[in-house]
Amino acid sequence: MKLLVIDDSPDITDLFVKVLTTIGHEVAATDNGKDGLDLLNRQKFDAVFLDIAMPNFSGLDVIENLLKNKKLKDNPVVLFTASSITDIEVKDLIRKGVHSCIRKPVGIETLFEKLEELGNIQYEENATRKLS
């Protein structure tokens, strides 16, 4: 799959890139939201792992932008955050079009599960989105 990771911590982006490419995925990574949006403008991704707490341009701003440009449908966004965003806020974002949310720190198993989940979507383009 074609994946995008947006996180301001290089360690995390490194981890994602290294681990996921090893198991066969194409991974792009940026450390800020603006660049991420640029990338999204130019190509579609099978999933976007988005950190919330980033300086200047937060993950929520990215989501807002994607909402405006109606790119959420084509680019499933998985919130990947350590911030204390409440369940209700998550549910709300999911309602708006975000795919799901996983909390940091994440276990590798959880990550693989999520990828499988996302992978299923790939094969079921016409089926309705699964809300977590």
Binding site: S9, V19, A53, A82, D87, I88, P105, V106, I108
Partner: protein, 783 residues
């Protein structure tokens, strides 16, 4: 009834009017009819008597003329002529002394005389009288040769034929005297010379028939003849033997013979009785015929009628009055009742006495009845109003009296006149001022002045009240024994009709105590001003501290969220890379020693993460910052997640694990992640304390009332009773020595309690040393 007389009553008015009307009508009617009758009667009588008098008079006249004519025929008779002339010339008549000789001598003459007279049956005596007045020949032979002593003994000169009445042997006769006329010379001249007269005596029967027929003359009417000598020559109806005896010297007689006039008038007749008389004057015959009826008889009916009318009028008037009386009574009775009622009502209103209530009973349906009904209504409402007013007055009076008494009991009252002299005071005034009533009445109120208020104060007061306005103020007064007292005074001016004050009422309250208190208060306030300043400052400081604390809290909060993120962030790659290392697919195979090392690193990183979370949650507990979000939670799902999350660890530790929800399908409205947090905390505790190889943990959920009760059971050592009190407190651990063995910060239970309480539930433990522990928490199904 006594009021009948005065025209003030309706009764008498009605009666008087009726009386006047009836009398007036009657009088008018009767006068008119009376006068009409009178006139009618007079006319009738006039007609009647005129006809009687004239009729009879004319009859008598013609009768007389007939008789004259009759005898006049004899007067121009040749035979009679011859007899008279022969006898007159015979001288021997003078010498004849007896009748026999006379008869012998004049036998032929007598026979011829009788032959001529033969036819006339009504001749009782006929005499032939010569010019010398001697009876030449008579049907009564005894008279022959005598001198005629009758009337008209004229000596043969012109004798007008006449008839007169005379009484002969007390019998009334008519004497007709007619001249005997001789044709002198030859027949060429028509003059006749009288050579003697015939005197015929006739009866009066035909005259009497005319005169004594009293038909149409009523009861008192009579017709009679009177001669020139004013003697009645016919019979009277009333006096016997009146003929030739009764003198009738009355008006018609005089008028006839003196003036030749006829009269009809009312005069007194020969009996001196007033009569109505009509005369027929035959002066040439030496007679006047009088037809007379007693005035009484004629006008009697009228007078009677008049009297009857008067009586009838009186009777009718009486009846009318009686009727009027009755009618007016009927009409006026209700009116009088009304008047009486009105009087009573007025009296009762004036006397403010209770009033016996009864209705005016008037049954008529006319205007008076209606008036009575309306009057009744009015009366009722008047009485009601009156009663209400009286009650109101009583109430008000009582209220006023109560108020006045209350006022009197609590306030000082004085009344001054317009010259500022005290006219009335109440007891309280004497009590407070220590002056007696006698000392106060007539004085100016400044008797209690203490000089505290300046003159301008009293000037202002005077100005205000004199202009009719209310004055209020506080005055310090001095009592008789020299003590000061303060009053709050209200002065009310009372104005007269022209708007000028006529008296002032001052109501005062003793505020001496109040004033003292005021003064002391002011002093105390001055003293306390400083302390109040201090307090102010302290309050200010507290406020600042508060603000400071709040700011610090805010900072803490910000710090918390920042820290949590910062603290957790490094852990991500740590755990991430460890995981990657563990996964051969990703980073290749590791030796078992390497694998162990990586696992150790990962599990410690995970623990660290938990610790950080706990710490943050504990901080949030402090700040009351724990956030919950409520949503529908399905217990089965929750348990599945828990099972999935913990199964690996429990398997690894070889702990028997049962997780069961009964019944299935339970739902509640709560925060799922927080519930999981609590279960996790309890689970981690249990995992730490169960025996190494024999550990058994059971997680259940069941439904009770409106709550879901979760339970985490373990077969650990249990908790001694004396430690239970502090179990859920922060940082508490049953055995600090165990801490080092088991790790952990001791925050888990405190945080669990915080969460459970925040979700509206309860958390508790059932435990016994050696028997394990059962941790329960209940959550409400709905919020």
């Amino acid at each position: 009834m006594a009021k009948f007389i005065f025209l003030r009553s309706i009764n008498s008015k009605i009666i008087a009017v009726s009386l006047l009307l009836s009398l007036g009508t009657l009088i008018t009617v009767s006068s008119i009819s009376f006068i009409a009758a009178d006139n009618l009667l007079k006319e009738r009588v006039e007609d009647q008597l005129t006809s009687e008098s004239t009729g009879r008079g004319t009859a008598i006249r013609s009768l007389m003329e007939t008789r004259i004519q009759q005898i006049s025929l004899l007067g121009i008779n040749d035979v009679i002529e011859n007899i008279v002339s022969r006898l007159q010339q015979n001288e021997t008549i003078n010498n004849m002394r007896n009748q026999t000789a006379y008869q012998t001598e004049f036998e032929n003459e007598i026979k011829s005389f009788q032959k001529v007279l033969g036819g006339s049956a009504n001749l009782e005596n006929v005499k032939l009288v010569g010019t010398d007045g001697k009876i030449l020949l008579s049907t009564d032979h005894s008279e022959n040769g005598r001198v005629y002593s009758g009337m008209n003994t004229s000596t043969g000169k012109s004798v007008t034929p006449n008839v007169h009445f005379d009484s002969i042997d007390n019998k009334r006769k008519t004497i007709v005297t007619v001249p005997v006329l001789q044709m002198s010379g030859n027949n060429k001249t028509s003059s006749r010379t009288p050579i003697g007269k015939i005197v015929a005596t006739m009866d009066t029967k035909p005259f009497d028939e005319i005169l004594l027929n009293r038909k149409g003359l009523g009861r008192t009417g009579e017709v009679y003849l009177v001669n020139q000598n004013k003697k009645m020559i016919t019979d009277s109806r009333f006096i016997e033997n009146a003929a030739f005896h009764q003198t009738v010297d009355t008006l018609p007689v005089r008028d006839c013979f003196e003036k030749g006039e006829e009269i009809h008038a009312i005069y007194n007749d020969y009996r001196n009785i007033p009569i109505v008389g009509f005369s027929y004057c035959a002066k040439d015959l030496g007679l006047v015929l009088l037809a007379e009826i007693d005035e009484a008889e004629i006008f009697g009916p009228i007078t009677q009628l008049k009297n009857e009318i008067i009586v009838a009028s009186i009777a009718i008037s009486a009846i009318v009055v009686a009727i009027a009386f009755y009618v007016s009574k009927t009409i006026s009775k209700p009116i009088i009742r009304l008047r009486d009622e009105a009087d009573r009502v007025t009296k009762s209103i004036k006397s403010i006495k209770p009033y016996e209530d009864y209705k005016v009973e008037i049954k008529s349906n006319d205007e008076i009845g209606h008036l009575a009904a309306q009057f009744d209504k009015m009366r009722k409402s008047v009485l009601e109003t009156n009663m209400n007013l009286n009650m109101l007055v009583k109430e008000r009076t009582k209220e006023l009296t109560d108020m006045t008494n209350a006022l009197d009991a609590t306030a000082i009252v004085l009344v001054t006149d317009r010259n500022e002299r005290i006219t009335k005071i109440n007891k309280k005034f004497t009590e407070i001022s220590k002056y007696s009533e006698g000392e106060l009445i007539g004085q100016n109120p400044r008797i209690v002045n203490s000089g505290y208020q300046p003159a301008s104060f009293f000037e202002q007061m005077r100005k205000t009240i004199m202009s009719g306005r209310l004055f209020e103020g506080e005055i310090r007064n001095r009592s008789k024994d020299g003590y000061y007292y303060w009053v709050k005074t209200t002065i009310v001016p009372f104005l007269d009709e022209s708007g000028l004050p006529k008296q002032y009422i001052a109501i005062q309250n003793d505020i001496t105590d109040l004033k003292n208190f005021e003064y002391e208060l002011q002093e105390a306030l001055k003293r306390d001003k400083e302390s109040s300043e201090i307090i102010k400052r302290q309050v200010e400081e507290l406020r600042r501290t508060n603000a400071e604390l709040r700011r610090k809290d805010k900072l803490k909060e910000e710090f918390l969220s920042m820290t949590s993120h910062e603290l957790k962030t490094p852990l991500t790659p740590i755990i991430g890379w460890c995981g990657a290392l563990r996964t051969p697919r990703v980073l290749g195979e590791l030796s078992s020693k390497q694998l162990t090392a990586v696992e150790t690193i990962e599990s410690n990183a995970i623990k660290l993460e938990r610790l950080i979370s706990d710490m943050l949650d504990a901080q949030k507990l402090d700040l009351d910052e724990l956030k919950f979000s409520f949503a529908n939670v399905e217990v089965d799902n929750l348990f599945n997640k828990t099972k999935k999350d913990f199964e690996p660890l429990l398997k690894e530790k070889n702990i028997q694990f049962v997780i069961r929800a009964e019944p299935r399908g339970m739902k509640l409205k709560s925060d799922e992640s927080r519930i999981i947090q609590v279960i996790s905390a309890l689970l981690y505790n249990s995992i730490d304390f169960v025996p190494k190889n024999d550990g058994r943990i059971e997680i259940t959920a069941e439904h009770k009332d409106n709550n879901i009760i979760f339970c985490v059971k373990d077969n650990g050592p249990g908790i001694p009773k004396n430690k239970l009190e502090f179990l859920f407190k922060k940082f508490y651990q049953v055995d600090t020595s165990l801490t080092r063995k088991h790790g952990g910060t001791g925050l888990g239970l405190a945080i669990s309690k915080g969460i459970v309480t925040g979700l509206g539930g309860k958390i508790w433990v059932e435990t016994e040393v050696g028997k394990g522990s059962n941790f329960y928490f209940s959550l409400p199904k709905d919020d």
